[in-house]
């Protein structure tokens, strides 16, 4: 494989000894930062869209399984199988069906996050105290009102925790999406895997993206669950 990637070298022959030595060269990074921008946004797109679709599917599955408990095992097993398929294998398996491109990458990424989000939503719903549900029912909330007004709001901390794991994991996995022809920072990394400046910047951007998305979800969680901090502040 390395001979394959060696052909993708991204720099011309140069007199700069730092670049020639595959070193970490701030000057080169400053001059070539443009080349990281497009892969970065592709990466953002892949991550956000995959987690969003994964969330919608998992949420629906979790709500259904919460009411019909017998579905929990089959769904856990099915999403568990998807979770264990190596993404890179999934990309190559999907290529004949969906071709090269973002769709293929997204399918594999979505398949991977289902289990994580599904389990967290279900745990969150299951952790709602029985007496809270009993009081809600006793006051005349219908099952649907109880779900949307009480159970889901109270499950938000776990739901958001699941999203954070899903997002950080997906940022990492999306570095392999270029194998499916979907671009992303992975493509940039592999374009010159021996050149430290390139690998550090592309890899660093992926880490940064994971941290920023994680932080954003954390902020959103704090905004929608004010009661959890009110208790701590007591």
């Amino acid at each position: 494989m390395s001979s394959l990637f060696a052909q993708l070298r991204i720099r011309e022959d140069t007199a700069d000894s730092c670049v020639a030595d595959n070193g970490f060269c701030p000057d080169w990074i400053a001059d070539n930062f443009d080349r990281f921008v497009d892969p970065f946004w592709e990466h953002v797109y892949l991550t956000v869209v995959a987690v969003a679709i994964g969330f919608v599917i998992s949420f629906a599955l979790a709500i259904v399984a919460y009411r019909r408990r017998w579905l929990i095992n089959p769904i856990t097993q099915a999403t568990g199988v998807l979770y264990t398929i190596p993404s890179i294998a999934a990309f190559f398996l999907l290529l004949p069906l969906t071709g090269r491109g973002k769709t293929t990458a997204l399918i594999a990424l979505v398949a991977y996050v289902l289990l994580i989000i599904f389990r967290n939503i279900l745990t969150g719903l299951d952790n709602v105290p029985d007496e809270t549900k009993d009081a809600g029912r006793g006051m005349g909330l219908t099952d649907r009102q109880l779900l949307w007004r009480v159970e889901i709001p109270l499950a938000l901390p776990e739901i958001m925790a699941g999203l954070r794991i899903a997002v950080t994991t997906t940022v990492g996995l999306a570095t392999l999406a270029f194998f499916a022809g979907a671009g992303g920072l992975g493509g940039q990394i592999f374009s010159d895997i021996n050149f430290k400046s390139n690998v550090v910047v592309a890899g660093g951007l992926a880490v940064l993206l994971a941290a920023v998305l994680d932080g954003l979800i954390l902020l959103a969680q704090r905004a929608v669950t004010p009661w959890t901090r009110a208790v701590a502040a007591r």
């Binding site: 006051m139 005349g140 909330l141 009480v150 007591r234």
Partner: protein, 383 residues
């Protein structure tokens, strides 16, 4: 909604599939509008099941329950429940909603306007002795256990339901706060006069809270249904006798308050008063010693003989005024106070602290022997 509803159990039975004994068997009793009916019994006697059948949290297997003459089985459960206040031991406040949000739950379901809800929340918080400004926007996690319990009661009362179901509402509270909450609820009940079904395993709480007590025993059978005094005077059968306890005579003292008995007139004297007058007062009274009070009529102590030797009464005490009793004290507590201080007599003061009479061990002995029909109970006791 309305003021209060009549509740009638008609051979209400709950049988769980696969269980030989019913959880509640042929329960028949009527709770008159505006009264507190306590369901009491050991664990597993079906008291909670019986209560939960009323708002259809548990469905009736056979028989019926009528609310103001109308079968609960005809009603849609969610709709029925919105008309019935519901308070449980674990309270079950919604942790993610503010106190106001919690109380507003049922009003919102019924589509009340924002202004009406806001006004009602403040009114209810004041009703349960919480400061609206301070409490309204707090989350349940920021409240003490007693405050949470009060919010739970306020929430159950939100739409002024004609019937309240309360399942061990004060069970998880420490004894001192429980006593306060019980008294507060009785005071509240004198104002709002709801029909209440109150579940507890504590016979003392049942006697204190109930206008009527339904004692239940294992297998969901009703052992006796009677007002507290009758239950204590004439327990039917071994089970009820054992359950109300060997000290049931003493428990009857918990049914009366100091204000309910005929107190002795206190021979009140002040420093500087002519001794002759003081002696005359003492001679008139059943209490042999004059009681020294200050300018405001507050008790200082029992006078000694030495104080009465001169022309004018002097400040010489044989003993302190302890225990000082209040009109609202229940007789059992008053007796405990007297025994604690090894006193025969205790001055009784009104809410201003002025002496209005004297309670003696003798009066208590008389109260123990009196007829149960004359004994008020529950919310009536201090009305």
């Amino acid at each position: 909604m309305s003021d209060a509803a009549t509740l009638e159990f008609r051979s209400a039975t709950k049988r769980y599939p696969g269980q030989s004994e019913p959880a509640v068997e042929e329960l028949s009793l009527t709770v008159p509008a505006g009264e507190i009916c306590v369901l009491v019994g050991p664990s597993g006697c079906g008291k909670t099941t019986a209560m939960r059948m009323v708002n259809r949290m548990i469905d009736i297997t056979s028989g019926d329950i009528l609310l103001d003459g109308r079968s609960v089985k005809e009603r849609r459960p969610a709709e029925l429940r919105r008309e019935i206040g519901y308070a449980i031991q674990q309270i079950g406040l919604f942790p993610h909603l503010s106190v106001a949000g919690n109380i507003a739950t049922v009003p919102r379901l019924l589509g009340w306007s924002k202004d009406r809800i806001r006004a009602r929340v403040d009114e209810l918080l004041e009703l349960v002795s919480l400061d609206p400004h301070e409490t309204r926007d707090r989350f349940p996690g920021q409240l003490s256990g007693g405050q949470r319990q009060r919010v739970g009661v306020a929430r159950a009362l939100a739409v002024d339901p004609p019937l309240m179901l309360m399942d061990e509402p004060f069970g998880a509270i420490d004894p001192i706060n429980r006593e306060r909450l019980q008294n507060e609820f009785l005071r509240l009940q004198r104002e709002i006069r709801k029909t209440v079904v109150f579940v507890t395993h504590d016979i003392d709480e049942a006697i204190k809270m109930g206008d009527r007590i339904a004692v239940m025993q294992k297998g969901g059978k009703l052992a006796q249904y009677a007002p507290p005094a009758e239950l204590l005077m004439f327990p039917q059968g071994r089970f009820v006798e054992d359950f109300v306890g060997a000290d049931r005579a003493l428990k009857r003292l918990a049914l009366q308050r100091v204000r309910d008995v005929d107190l002795w007139k206190a021979p009140l004297v002040r420093v500087g008063e002519p001794v002759a007058e003081a002696r005359a007062k003492a001679a008139e009274s059943e209490v042999p010693y004059p009681l020294l009070v200050d300018g405001d009529g507050k008790p200082l102590g029992w006078l000694s003989e030495k104080a009465l030797l001169g022309e004018r009464v002097e400040h010489e005490l044989r003993s302190s005024a302890e225990p000082v009793l209040e009109l609202d004290d229940v007789l059992r507590d008053a007796l405990a106070d007297l025994l604690q201080d090894e006193a025969q007599y205790g001055p009784v003061v009104d809410h201003r602290g002025q002496v209005t009479g004297v309670l003696s061990i003798e009066i208590l002995g008389h109260a123990l022997r009196s007829d149960p029909d004359e004994v008020p109970h529950g919310a009536d006791a201090a009305a």
